[in-house]
């Protein structure tokens, strides 16, 4: 099976900044692939390298077995959904969608029919004659999607397309995107800084940091078996234990344990530590309890909030009743926290050191 997209030791530099640093990766055909990372991590530059808006300084980009290095965007069979949607303000919706077909010389009748089809695919069939300015953010988003999909691209690139939408709409669009991807069988390359989005939609996720891929894995493995401290703390929330304590508890240089695997005053825990509660945060579904187990070492525990009102007899008991409140420790009290040994994941420590500092110290030494 050919790969939809392949990076071979690809680098892209802007002046002194190396935005993409010797990245090699393979995206399989029909895959929902996400590039996750903080801003400036190189994920968007990678997407622009596939689209052709940027050309690599080193290495190659291969799209469907064909070397795309040096090809302009208009000669690549990939399409992009832009972060700001980039709809043409002087054209109505149907002309926007038909644009790709129009510039390729598809006859007017056919291109309008296909644009209408694409409009129905995104459930906006009655909006063809409107101007982009008359649409809501979510509708513009769908039009941008339809405009890209109408060209039947081999790879669809999505540059933080849900970033500007509110939470409700974002969740709705997430499942819709996933449905479209399954239905059309097109390779999706999705760039985001939102880890929830990446985890919930993707077949595989590449976590970017400082122009390099920290880890490339399935969402489950990224969360359960993070390779580095960066991945552990960027994907979900994590307790990272280093140094002496790590040696003492797990005989490694550093390990991570997820807060939801940490429990309070639980005698079944085989790893346990004594500490003082420093903060308690109510988060709706959970309560986060921060415990200081050594000077400056804070370990967070996440406890699901259980419905105690039901237990007390009446489900409509609106008056707060102290006796039914969950038994939470108070700030400043001493607690014993602990977890099962399999909850600990050893981290590579070497890969964490920032690449930029390496370069500067090297050049300073030379």
């Amino acid at each position: 099976m050919t790969n939809a997209v392949e990076f071979i030791h690809t680098s892209r530099r802007f002046g002194d900044v190396t935005a993409v640093d010797q990245v090699s990766l393979k995206i399989a055909e029909g895959e929902f692939f996400s590039m996750l990372g903080p801003s400036g991590s190189g994920k968007t530059t990678c997407l622009r390298l596939i689209a052709g808006f940027e050309q690599p300084d080193d290495g190659q980009i291969v799209i469907h077995g064909r070397d795309a290095t040096g090809l302009p965007p208009y000669q690549r069979n990939v399409n992009t959904v832009f972060q700001d949607y980039a709809l043409f303000p002087h054209m109505n919706v149907i002309d926007n969608i038909a644009y790709g077909l129009m510039v390729k010389g598809v006859a007017k009748k056919e291109r309008l029919a296909r644009a209408q089809e694409a409009l129905e695919l995104v459930a906006l069939k009655d909006h063809g004659s409107r101007k982009p300015a008359q649409l809501s953010g979510g509708q513009r988003q769908r039009i941008a999607l339809a405009r890209a999909l109408v060209n039947r691209p081999k790879v669809l690139l999505l540059d933080e397309p849900l970033g500007a939408l509110d939470l409700k709409l974002r969740e709705q669009m997430q499942s819709e995107l996933k449905r479209l991807q399954r239905q059309l069988g097109i390779t999706f390359v999705f760039v985001t800084h939102d880890q929830t989005e990446a985890l919930s939609m993707s077949d595989r996720v590449a976590v970017f940091n400082q122009g390099r891929i920290e880890q490339l894995d399935t969402p489950q493995n990224l969360y359960n078996r993070p390779a580095t401290e960066f991945v552990a703390s960027f994907v979900g929330s994590a307790n990272v234990v280093r140094g002496e304590l790590a040696q003492q508890l797990a005989a490694v240089d550093a390990f991570t344990v997820r807060p939801e695997f940490v429990s309070l005053n639980d005698s079944t825990n085989t790893v346990s530590l004594d500490g003082t509660v420093t903060d308690i945060q109510y988060q709706g579904a959970n309560t986060r309890i921060e415990v200081e187990v050594g000077p400056g070492i804070i370990i967070a525990a996440l406890q699901p909030n259980v419905l105690h009102a039901l237990a007390s007899g009446s489900a409509f008991n609106s008056a707060p009743d102290d006796s039914t409140e969950q038994a939470l420790p108070v700030i400043g009290s001493a607690v014993r926290i602990g977890w099962q040994p399999e909850a600990m994941v050893a981290l590579q420590t070497a890969a964490v050191s920032p690449t930029n500092t390496e370069i500067t110290t090297e050049s300073a030494g030379a």
């Binding site: 689209a51 808006f53 208009y74 972060q83 980039a86 002087h90 510039v103 890209a148 060209n151």
Partner: protein
């Protein structure tokens, strides 16, 4: 008890505000009533605009209805339409057509040569290069317009730099051919319509570059990327995205070049063949002959022409983006 009150700054005595002076109360009032602020800000300019501009313009056009006695050279306030009708006399109509054609060709040519400069300024130049280009475009406007026009009469004269330079390039036959064309040519560049056209274009060019540059600057780069992403070659992107979206800028620039050429009376006197322009006709009627009513009637022409021009430009969608 009173000592406790003074210790705690949160007591009611500390909360009460110091009395506000008149100016502060006035600005509170303006903040709470934005309409009042708007009224105060807009009344002076609207009064100025209404009395100095509109009223005097209407008074001028009204004078166009007065009668001028050719024998006594006196103006009487007997109302007549004959001045406006006379605009369509062959001699007068000639002036209108001549001016109109010049204004149109200056606008078209200015747009053609302004666009690449504006495009470079908006999309490629940054920092010092951009500052340099702004300066280079604006610098000619710091010089007196009359000085520039006079300078051009010398530059374009038979013994001038332009003729010398064209000779140096061995292009004199081309120039001679151009000057032999009816309507465009003349004895030398400085006495030809071609020369007049060049001077007009030179003088009004900044007014074309700046609005186009502004409209191109507003064009988000992602639109151009989206176009090429969807398979459009740069030429198609230009035709379908850049050009339509810069029409408001071109229209705004052409309104300047068109109306400024239409009303000019200095350049036609200094450069080009004899034959009056609208502006010089008004000048002659009012200054030399003292036929105020006819001069007033002539001022209606550019107003009407620009109104027609604006409506055409509007139909092209030039103001949709406003």
């Amino acid at each position: 008890m009173s000592s406790v009150m003074s210790i705690h700054p949160s007591g009611p005595a500390a909360v009460s505000e110091p009395p506000r002076n008149l100016l502060q109360r006035f600005s509170d009032r303006l903040y709470l009533q934005p309409r009042l602020l708007l009224l105060l800000l807009l009344t002076p300019p609207l009064l100025w605009f209404g009395s100095v501009y509109i009223a005097s313009l209407l008074a001028l056009l009204w004078q166009g209805l007065y009668t001028f006695d050719d024998f006594t050279m006196l103006v009487s306030d007997t109302l007549t339409l004959s001045n406006y009708v006379q605009l369509f006399d062959a001699a007068n109509f000639d002036i209108i057509v001549r001016t109109l054609l010049m204004a149109l060709s200056v606008s078209v040519f200015s747009a053609l040569i302004a666009f690449p400069v504006a495009y470079y300024m908006a999309r490629y130049a940054s920092g010092k290069t951009k500052a340099f280009f702004y300066l280079a475009v604006m610098l000619p406007m710091w010089t007196s317009y009359i000085v520039k026009a006079y300078a051009w009469t010398l530059l374009l004269a038979q013994e001038g730099v332009t003729h010398w330079f064209i000779e140096l390039l061995h292009l004199t036959p081309v120039l001679n051919w151009l000057l032999s064309l009816p309507g465009i040519g003349g004895n030398t560049l400085s006495t030809s319509n071609l020369g007049r056209f060049l001077v007009f274009t030179y003088i009004w060019l900044p007014f074309m570059i700046l609005p186009i540059q502004a409209s191109l600057e507003r064009l988000p780069p992602s639109l151009l990327q989206a176009s090429s992403d969807l398979g459009a070659t740069p030429a198609k992107t230009f035709r379908h995205v850049i050009l339509p979206l810069s029409v408001p800028g071109i229209a705004a620039g052409s309104i300047f070049t068109f109306s400024l050429t239409l009303g000019d009376y200095i350049v036609p006197q200094l450069v080009g063949p004899p034959g009056l322009f609208l502006g010089s006709m008004v000048y002659v009627q009012q200054g030399s002959i003292g036929n105020m009513p006819m001069a007033a009637a002539f001022t209606l022409v550019p107003i009407v022409l620009i109104a027609v021009y604006l409506s055409i430009v509007k139909r092209m969608g030039a103001f949709d983006a406003l």
